[in-house]
Amino acid sequence: MSVISVKNLKKYYKVHQKEPGLLGSIKSLFNRKYYDVKAVDGVNFEIGEGELVGFIGPNGAGKTTTLKVLSGLLYPTSGDVSVLGYTPWDRKPVFQKQFSLVMGQKNQLWWDLPAIESFILNKEIYEVSNDKYEATLNELVDLLDVKEVLKVQVRKLSLGQRMKMELIAALIHNPKILFLDEPTIGLDVVMQKKMRDFIKEYNRRYNATIVLTSHYMDDVKELCKRVIIIDKGKVLFDGALDEIIKKFANHKLLTVVFSKEVSEKELKKIGEIKEFEMPRATISVLRDKVSSSASRLLESFPVADLNIEEPKIEDIIREVFTGRDFA
């Protein structure tokens, strides 16, 4: 059964343009020109309970706007949205107590006080009982390994520690749905891994539905079996991660090591050369021509080693975003 249902969601808003220079500023004071931005333009998807879905797209694709509509922060221009059976923008407290929104670049902790003070505040706001609060806090603190810094002022914590505290503050009421907007942004690789492990574990332990947006492909690859790709306000893909390769990548990569010097010009007859630095080369060939290309390579060139690989998901997605034609 789906806990999140989005049907033909559209969100348009107006921005104004200003001519450059002081004269442009003065003109704009009296007469402003507006144009429409289609942030979300007919998005459809359903997410079931306990799913961990990656929501990816380039900057300005409409990811954050969609998350904001799902959390009730924004009213859509049109479309139907249901989260746990509620219309999010009605902002009913009973609904708000069941989800949480974490935005990597926005914080809710009191800067000058230890994070635990903010947790207690959230406990009152979400009306969490004392027992539940203690149990949840202890669990989260253990999972995120922050016991020693619980009573340290937030401003004295590292970015990674602060992010962990933000997560605890967001989860103190044990929400059924978690919207994570770029939760690993700005973190070092070690901390990113820890955050991913935590998110995975939280999803497993509480069967929480998690929708995650991220620019880091490692977040998506490690956490999300299902991915929704959005660009220019439209869904380009919604399915399993490995299906992206089948849908968007009609090429495969031949990575070859040569035993002798070869001509790059000759190699171009096999396929598109991605990299060429003797003795290695990487050649992109059409998926249905892999066998024949590999055979020709072995016949015509002094090959010491040959590997046939799928293109990297991040390369595929990058090329999807740049609008490269795969047909």
Binding site: L73, Y75, F99, D112, I120
Partner: protein, 262 residues
């Protein structure tokens, strides 16, 4: 109701703790408040000694008015300014979101999230000025007068809250209005003067659509003028009306913010 009280209490606690984290800062700002409190007295003493009357107030009456003004600095600066001051900037930077998604009324959340205790000297200074004024009066107002005075102080706070909140809520309708929090405090400064110094049209405006001339004066005059039930009733009606209007504007602004943002 209990939940709201618990949340207010928690915010009070957090604000106090935050203040105590930077003790020197707290002490310094407390001294600044002492400075402004003293300046009020010096300024009005200088005025009265040169012009003898401010409107139709003599020294005793002016002292009572300044005392009331200083007392109300506590809710105006210690509560309202502290909570509202950064709100317009948060609205323009999209940080209001973290408050809107909470299962608590958003107007309540933005209204009680910060308090400042460094204006405590104003409470003390205000009380001293009031006592000085009462002494200058030559008679002591009755106990009932003091009860009405306290009651009207509460109504005054409610009225000021309504007007202040309306001004802040306007930030939801514009791209950026970071300086709006200063408008009300400028109006508050103006409220120390009697309506009699203004012309008829301005008097009407300052006692109705922008009742600046009533904030301080109505509670103060309880202590040195005969009871004026009509003006007290009008005062109460204005407080209710402005709060109802504030609520409507806030909800309308939130709808616009939620429709126009990205």
């Amino acid at each position: 109701m209990i939940k709201s009280l618990k949340i207010i209490f928690k915010y009070l606690q957090l604000s106090w703790m935050q203040g105590m984290e930077y003790r020197t800062n707290f002490i310094v700002w407390t001294l600044v408040d002492v400075g402004w409190t003293a300046i009020d007295l010096v300024f009005f003493q200088a005025l009265i000694s040169n012009i003898k009357m401010i409107g139709n107030w003599n020294l005793a009456q002016a002292l009572i008015v300044i005392g009331t003004f200083r007392l109300l600095v506590f809710p105006v600066w210690g509560w309202m300014f502290a909570s509202f001051n950064t709100l317009p900037k948060q609205i323009s930077e999209g940080k209001l979101e973290m408050m809107i998604i909470k299962p608590v009324d958003s107007q309540f959340m933005v209204s009680v999230r910060q308090f400042s205790f460094s204006v405590l000297p104003s409470l003390i200074g205000g009380t001293i000025f009031l006592l000085l004024g009462v002494r200058e009066l030559g008679y002591v107002p009755s106990f009932l007068n003091f009860i009405f005075f306290l009651g009207l102080l509460i109504v005054s706070v409610a009225l000021m809250y309504g007007i202040y909140f309306i001004s802040i809520a306007l930030a939801l309708f514009t791209e950026r209005l970071n300086n709006i929090a200063h408008v009300f405090v400028a109006l508050y400064d103006a409220s120390r003067f009697p309506k009699e110094i203004y012309g008829i049209i301005l008097q009407r405006i300052l006692t109705t659509i922008l009742p600046v001339a009533l904030f301080i004066v109505v509670p103060s005059e309880v202590l040195f003028r005969p009871a004026n039930w009509m003006s007290w009733l009008w005062f109460l009606i204005l407080a209710v009306a402005f709060n109802v209007l504030a609520r409507k504007i806030w909800l309308s602004g939130l709808r616009r913010y939620s429709s126009a943002s990205s």
